[in-house]
């Protein structure tokens, strides 16, 4: 019974949805203020979500209805599950085993795959182009993201997120070694969340809404919610791995600290969104594989040497 409460209410689905919508508000507000606009009121993401829920679901006649309807739920489930493995304001996450960092990374890949499948099965030309772009982009940012996060795990000598948190809390200031990895993962997260400068899969002025072109109503609302939750999960993963300080404090203080950290990461995402133009897909691939991946490898190399030095 308690497990069900954990999964469904706190810190599971409902809490995460609210946090996701709040994250969307923070992102939109900062983005707007940086552009010299007013930005939405705090309840705007909630209003958008509720309104979308009330709209008609339209399934294109040519689309495969089962796949089309299943994909939003699939992606939502994947991101919510990923959240359960991440230590948030406590050293222990809700569920934990050795190797869960890999599981979280894989679970965070599933939304992109569902965007691809959903877009592909909706048979719209724009959606198909967007899907192909999403998958192409996946190959570009996933490699530096994996290297960046695993190099931090390497230093902690464990593949469990809770133990990574434990390691960095028992060795304060060790997390400062991973700054390069933090930057790399942040760039990769921009790609994962399909935000400017890596928003080619849903480039509005080219392919309308990419994979989501044919989605409407409840299904689209769930996809939107997935994106918001993915932003929160991605931000919490980055904070858990790269900014893991302060988890041993009083629970309330570390809860506040956790919120500050994830909204800080979201603020960095909004900043990047307002500073750059959208890159073309070929430029994005080149940038990620030519510059970001080697930099991530540098972090890996540093951590390998550090490990030899620190564990002597």
């Amino acid at each position: 019974m308690l497990a069900l409460f954990f999964i469904l209410v706190f810190p599971g689905f409902i809490f995460l949805s609210l946090l996701g919508l709040a994250g969307q508000f923070v992102d939109r507000k900062i983005y707007a203020r940086l552009q010299n606009r007013m930005g939405p009121p705090w309840y705007q993401p909630f209003a958008d979500f509720i309104k979308l829920l009330g709209k008609e679901d339209i399934v294109p006649a040519e689309a495969n209805p089962r796949m089309f309807k299943l994909m939003p739920l699939f992606s939502l489930t994947a991101v919510v599950t990923a959240f359960l493995y991440i230590p948030l304001w406590d050293i222990k996450s809700l569920l934990s085993f050795n190797g869960d960092v890999i599981v979280v990374l894989y679970l965070l890949t599933i939304p992109t795959i569902t965007f691809f499948i959903g877009g592909w099965y909706s048979t719209s030309l724009y959606a198909r182009l967007g899907s192909v772009r999403a998958l192409t982009q996946l190959c570009a940012y996933e490699i530096p993201l994996f290297i960046g996060i695993l190099s931090s795990a390497l230093l902690a000598n464990t593949w469990s997120l809770s133990e990574i948190a434990l390691f960095y809390n028992s060795h304060p200031w060790y997390w400062t070694f991973n700054f390069i990895g933090f930057g790399v993962s942040l760039i990769a997260l921009l790609g994962k969340l399909e935000k400017v400068p890596f928003d080619t899969p849903e480039a509005e002025t080219e392919i309308v809404a990419g994979s989501f072109t044919e989605y409407s109503g409840r299904l689209f609302a769930f996809f939107r919610l997935t994106m918001d939750i993915e932003m929160i999960v991605g931000a919490s993963l980055i904070t858990a791995v790269f900014l893991p300080f302060g988890l041993t404090l009083h629970p309330y203080i570390s809860l506040v600290l956790f919120l500050v950290k994830i909204f800080g990461v979201i603020a960095l995402i909004s900043l990047a969104r307002s500073l750059f133009a959208r890159l073309r897909i070929d430029q994005m691939m080149r940038f990620c594989l030519k510059y970001v991946t080697p930099i991530a490898l540098v972090q890996l190399l540093i951590n390998i040497f550090l490990k030899g030095f620190l564990y002597r």
Partner: protein, 407 residues
Amino acid sequence: MAEEKDFKIPIGPQHPALKEPEGFSVALKGEKILGVEIRLGYNHRGIEKACEDRTYIQDLYLIERVCGICSHSHSTCFVQAVEEIAKLEVSKRAQYIRTIIAELERIHSHFLWLGVAGHEIGFDTLLMYTWRDREIVMDLLAKLTGNRVNYSINTIGGVRRDITDSQKKEILEAVDKLEERTKYYIEIATQEVSIIKRLKGVGVLSKDDALRLGAVGPTARASGISRDTRKDDPYAAYSEVSFNVATDTNCDVFGRTVVRLKELMEAYKIIRQLVGIVPAGAIVIRAPRKIPVGEAISRYEAPRGEDVHYVKANGTEKPERVKIRAPTLANIQAVKRMLEDRFLADMPIVIAAIDPCFSCTDRAILLEEKNSSKKNIMTWQSLRSYSIDWYRKRGIDFSKLSEKIKG
């Protein structure tokens, strides 16, 4: 292979990248563009024909609405042609005021373009910033003419509103502010890496191609052609100010951006000179209601390029024929060349780079059925009766309405 060839993606007539309806059918292989088909004709409004049914003064207001952005360009171009036929000597003061408004319009148009270009490459911050600064010049135009968009300052034989000394001061203040902002945008556009990556080498139009395809305005000037009606065939007060024709040899979208930004700086220079030396005099002279028989062609450098109007007068108060050649029509041919071997992602910015104004350029098109050689050309009378029938079938009868108006 056959399937790949069939992968055609429609950009328009309704598409977020386009601000007006226009059909582009793009054949794709992956992200590469194999070919583009352009189709005009979604927004034809029959303005040229409507002009023949109205008096010259009424036409002036109609023609001002050819384009929402370069409204002053079209009305000035038309007025110049009519004045030439009627042999009216417009006062110097009126010419100066027309030129000031024309340059202010150029400023607002180029600011608008910069924002749209930013939006097309996914850089919305630039859009928000430029459109905020554009408000300065929009407000100024509203103060000077009474309207933000369709200024209605022209009239046959002069202008409708004078510029006072306090307004001159306001113009200079606004120009100072705008110049400062423009310098900032020049810095951004020429230094920000992601912008340069998206603009450099995209939509290349060589000098030869630009000449062959008859490109005009900033599109031609960015390909190294020094062609500017303000210099080549000075009208209004342009012969009395000194300015440079902004050109660039990049031949790509980046060059077009640079040319527009340089032109903004030139516009400030022109306005400063003009405001300093506006001569005294009447702003309008009396024009006859009936324009004598004759015809004239008028050229005008609109923000988007050379605008050409042809007016034929038949001695009555209505023109016999009005013909408009908006600058986009001259440039649209070049788009096809620019998009060869480019990526789909470049398409919005390449189309936007000619600063298209589709509704100004739209003409009536003739659709032929694919499998029949029968051409169905309607005369004015048959088209009119067809439209009356079309509405009558749907229960709308205008004959009663016209009786009502008469009665």
